[in-house]
Symmetry: C2
């Protein structure tokens, strides 16, 4: 059933589907041939070199190197897991270099792509800087919090982020669908005592769980919710998701917005045990990084992988003012790929 072309074997439908001729593939690279139109009983009539003739009369001439490459495993996205040892080599870019684009921007974006976070130092303290940094590589994801939002102590807060309370490691907005895949936080003022930022690699910590714990956290979606006078957001998602390759590919963890678990009686005990172990490992000094943003500094996290938190601060002992915004990974990776051409 498979046909040998060059050194490798291919399915007739696969070959026909991937014909590179101008009739089958638009110069933009998109497929013109609608795969659905290929007859089920298509066969290969002849192979000469890298030219394949099919029973529908069509002949396709492939680039032999391209054909050979298709038989090897696709390149995986680079991803480097980390723990507290990364303190010695924090992924830091300089604002004045990164805003100029080119290699400095590519390096900074690659930190976010590979490590799930990056810090940018020495920027302005001007309001709105955070969205301008997002626009260096992508697009702001506007939400009910606005294009950007202020994080500081307010009277009658609708969100704990707007108090002086410490916040344990969490991902943002798990009640949103789709969850924003990137978050940026920019420091405008930080004279208050405390309020250090923390980050932890959720994929690394998930790897420290037992297989049974991972399966519990991946197998039972839980609900997250946020509501105020103008908003009512609710989404159901498991704490961990595992891809077809068996690797953890998303983390949603937020004890503030998690709704009461609705789990079978036999599952609730083991589930809490796994949930508590994961939550506590996220706070373990073995995995957690801590740094204090100076005015003008900023950091970006991959919000489906790296959890962030902050130490408590005394709202009366000085000022702490951050601005945040959301954005998405697709544009970041696109910009990184284009800069790397």
């Amino acid at each position: 059933m498979l046909v040998t072309v060059g050194d490798n074997r291919f399915h007739p439908l696969w070959l026909r589907d991937n014909c590179p001729c101008r009739e089958c593939r638009h110069e933009s690279g998109q497929r013109l041939l609608d795969t659905r139109s290929i007859p089920d009983d298509l066969t290969v009539v002849s192979v000469e070199g890298a030219t394949v003739t099919f029973s529908d009369g069509h002949a396709s001439t492939f680039d032999p190197d391209w054909l050979d490459a298709q038989s090897h495993p696709a390149e995986r996205r680079r991803r480097r897991l980390w723990g507290a040892e990364l303190t010695d080599e924090l992924p830091v870019g300089r604002y004045d270099e990164v805003v100029d684009g080119g290699e400095a921007l590519a390096t900074w974006l690659a930190y976010v792509d590979e490590l799930g976070f990056a810090i940018l130092v020495g920027g302005p303290t001007e309001p709105g800087t955070v969205t301008r940094v997002a626009e260096l590589f992508g697009y702001v994801r506007e939400t009910n919090y606005g294009r950007l939002f202020d994080v500081r102590t307010v009277v009658s807060p609708t969100n704990l982020a707007y108090t002086g309370l410490g916040l344990g490691a969490h991902t943002d907005n798990p009640y949103r669908e789709p969850t924003p895949t990137l978050q940026l936080l920019h420091c405008l003022a930080s004279s208050a005592e405390g309020g250090e930022n923390t980050v932890v690699d959720g994929f690394r910590v998930a790897g420290a769980l037992t297989a049974v714990e991972r399966e519990l956290l991946a197998g039972h979606p839980i609900r997250f919710r946020y509501a105020d006078a103008a908003t009512e957001l609710e989404a159901e998602t498991p704490v961990l998701s595992v891809g077809a390759d068996g690797e953890v590919c998303t983390v949603h963890y937020n004890t503030r917005s998690a709704q009461p678990f609705r789990l079978p009686e036999s599952v609730i005990g083991p589930y809490y045990a796994a949930y508590q172990r994961f939550g506590r490992l996220l706070e373990s000094p073995e995995y957690k990084l801590s740094f204090k943003l100076e005015p003008g500094d900023l950091f970006a996290v991959d919000n489906l992988r790296v959890l962030h938190g902050r130490a408590a601060y005394a709202p009366s002992g000085g000022e702490r003012h951050l601005q945040g915004c959301y954005a998405d990974r697709d544009a970041l990776r696109s910009t990184l790929a284009v800069l790397s051409r």
Copy 2:
């Protein structure tokens, strides 16, 4: 291990985690108590009515009705699968009523939520109308195509959407991560012959596959890609995703941007058989709806569920001009929930 309160049994950690007192839960509804801080060996010391006292000394008084409701299955999102029979009751709203908000807007948004698409008729033909409609309920997802994009025939197109070619049923932008969950298309001109829009319920069609076909399409992620001079987007996702409840919850199908499948030799044949069956069922008159947008009309689709397409049109025989934009479901559902309060 479980404790009886009222008519139901609860886990001690669950009860403590969901204490409604002002010390444990902020008035915003967010949990103040960090679940991680609850001791593993917590027990219930006494239960009196709906007041539970724990071994950590804390006492929680629950609303008995709330507690009882937690033991019943959570309400599921309404979702109504459909086929071609929906032609007789197309989900149509009137622009002048829907823009006024209130019940007409709620009804229109509920169509999108339950059926995965809705049509809006009688709107203006002014450019930019499409984003103003998105802003009635949510936020535009800006991409490399802009806040909005024009769909008409152009010279040297980088995308087949910008030609007069017919387009089979597809979801948009599967090469993006996260995939936009909503798409809106607004008609500014439609004097060309042909170019009818089509929609099909991907969840309904997935239900017509065999279990083996569904497992093949859900079990093997494929790659989608789009590239031009300034952009390089690539994402890997299966054609179908199945949630923890066993229901299909996302569809990604686009024969134009699908990259050559990299599948084991033993899988490629059965995979193509399932892929072709799904693709052809999507075009079957049993499932597909067709309608022609008049100038001023618009439609919205849930881009992870309802596939859209268009009949070919003769670019020389008149004008066809649409404007499109992307948005997301979370804000739509939030607006619908707030309007329904």
